[in-house]
């Protein structure tokens, strides 16, 4: 089995993306996968595709990428609370205004999901869940019976997803496993100024979550200079989420500062 690296949501954070790609390359990843959402939140959504191509990253479509490709009126993140949607609208308008026709065409070609056979196990790589691009699979809000059902329906032994922005993994029955690889463009609401991604070592199916440091001050300064909400920059500077918090389940919300 060759080692692979898998990450979610670069969100226009070019310095986080470059740092993760360099880290994965240095460790000898045989393949690098991105589970979608190139834009939103960060200052340089236009820089994402060139970086992904430079490192030959294999990418799955996120709701953000699909929304841009189809010129939808909003990001389709699936928030239900007006407070979450208010910030989501700002990030989407910012990203949409910076998406070229070529960018949109590139995103339109991204697959909904990818299947790999790795070490005899059927891997399914998707954005939200195997059944819905913008479904949130939170650790504390996803039961084992539910995860086992959706993995079985997708005929997968190992489901790799993102969308929530928080990384976690769980071993399920029948040798199945779910790995939410988290997102690299925004910290993991843990007070750490790093980007987390998932590393699958050569002899393993469980993920090792790796923190990668990058110049958060530089990214936050760029966000401020671009006129993005100061709350976004604060998140990068502190490692704590300041917006789009209402969607969090109780346990995840309680772990954060806000």
């Amino acid at each position: 089995m060759e080692p692979i690296a898998v990450f979610g949501g670069p969100y226009g954070n070019h310095l986080a993306l470059r740092a993760v790609l360099e880290d994965a390359a240095r460790r000898g990843a045989s393949a690098i996968y991105c589970l979608g959402d190139l834009g939103g939140f960060g200052p340089r959504p236009g820089a994402m595709i060139a970086l992904l191509e430079e490192f030959q990253v294999i990418t799955v479509v996120g709701n953000y990428d699909r929304a841009l490709a189809e010129r939808q009126p909003d990001c389709g993140c699936g928030y239900t609370h007006p407070k979450d949607n208010e910030y989501a609208r700002i990030a989407y308008a910012f990203t949409d205004a910076r998406a070229s026709a070529q960018d949109r065409a590139w995103m339109a070609r991204l697959p909904e999901s990818l299947r790999l056979l790795r070490g005899g196990r059927r891997y399914l790589l998707c954005h939200g869940s195997p059944r819905q691009t913008n479904e949130f699979l939170w650790d504390s809000a996803s039961s084992n019976p539910f995860l086992e059902r959706i993995a079985a329906e997708a005929q997968a032994d190992q489901v790799l997803c993102t969308h929530t922005g928080l990384h976690w993994q769980r071993e399920l029955g029948m040798g199945r496993r779910i790995v939410n690889v988290g997102a690299i463009g925004r910290p993991a609401n843990d007070g750490l100024r790093v980007a987390w991604y998932a590393w699958f070592a050569s002899d393993r199916h469980d993920a090792q979550f790796l923190p990668v440091a990058y110049d958060t001050d530089a990214v936050a300064a760029e966000m401020d200079a671009e006129g993005l909400p100061p709350e976004f920059g604060e998140t990068i500077r502190t490692g704590w989420w300041t917006t789009c918090l209402e969607v969090l389940p109780a346990k995840e919300r309680a772990r954060g500062r806000w």
Partner: protein, 293 residues
């Protein structure tokens, strides 16, 4: 002619997956008699009975086999059920759970017990508290004399125990733009001591006691095939959830007083499509409302 035409024109919602199972765990018994209650709960309403731990167990087991994602417990007032905590313990061993309560019966001991259950589980336990005004006058006009002060006391106990309750507000005001009202609720809850106020606004369902308080649905407030053409049925909670009461399994929490909404005795029996023939169906379609968190 028109009657048969009407019957053929009711669109149906399929059950796409059984993600969420609700329990009418306190039946229709409640210590309050809210004037807008869509299932007319009160101290003497026993149309749906209290459910015991033994009553809920077979449904929990069936839900596991069907791949349930989460559970919700409501009433009536769930804390009138003496077995609520053991039932929650069973549920939290399986899946994330939410309790919908008026909080008036929650004291420090309850809150501490709930917290212990929550901490023993890998899953979230959400406490959802109904409040319909920012002061005693506006809240108690709907929910009864003294209920504001009692609900606030319960909210504070939950907060002290480490919960971040979700306060659910029925949209009784006329202005369809509720942003300002949400902000006011948020600020008021912070003032009374909640660290991270969370607010959910639900539309009014004009059935039960609410139909008497204001007016019921007009015959035109019914869904037709045109309404659902191109509509994403996944946004309707009845496409992914069912409600269990002492009387059997119903399509949703709103329609437990409608005989046609009872879909079977077991969850499996209830896994079929449902004709969206009620005024309340129109409300869910028009507002995008879901009883989920």
């Amino acid at each position: 002619m028109s009657a048969s035409a009407t019957i053929t024109l009711v669109p149906s919602v399929p059950l796409l997956a059984l993600d969420t199972v609700w329990f009418q765990v306190a039946g229709t018994l409640c210590n309050l008699t809210c004037s807008h209650c869509f299932i007319t709960c009160g101290p003497t309403n026993r149309r749906h009975a209290m459910m015991s731990r033994a009553d809920t167990r077979p449904y929990l087991d069936e839900a596991v086999a069907l791949g349930v994602r989460d559970f919700y417990f409501t009433g009536g007032e769930p804390f009138l059920n003496k077995e609520l905590l053991p039932i929650l313990e069973d549920a939290l061993a399986i899946a994330p759970s939410t309790v919908l309560t008026n909080a008036t019966l929650i004291d420090a001991a309850h809150a501490a017990s709930l917290r212990r259950l929550e901490q023993a589980s890998r899953y979230s336990l959400e406490m959802r508290v109904s409040l319909d005004g920012l002061d005693p006058a506006s809240n108690d006009a709907l929910r009864g004399e003294g209920s504001f002060a009692e609900a606030l006391a319960g909210l504070r106990e939950l907060s002290r125990a480490g919960f971040d309750p979700i306060v659910t507000v029925a949209q009784t005001w006329d202005d369809p733009s509720d942003a300002a009202m949400r902000v006011r609720f948020h600020d008021t809850l912070r003032e009374i001591g909640l660290a991270r106020p969370r607010v959910k606004v639900l539309p009014m369902f004009r059935v039960g006691r609410e139909a008497e308080r204001t007016q019921g649905y007009d015959a035109r407030e019914r869904l037709t095939p045109e309404h659902v053409e191109g509509f994403d049925m996944r946004t309707l909670q009845c496409s992914t959830s069912r409600m269990v009461t002492s009387q059997g399994v119903y399509v949703c929490p709103i329609l437990i007083d409608s005989r046609d909404a009872r879909l079977g005795r077991t969850l499996r029996e209830s896994m079929r499509s449902f004709p969206l023939a009620h005024g309340a169906c129109h409300t869910c379609w028009a507002t995008g409302a879901t009883c989920r968190n």
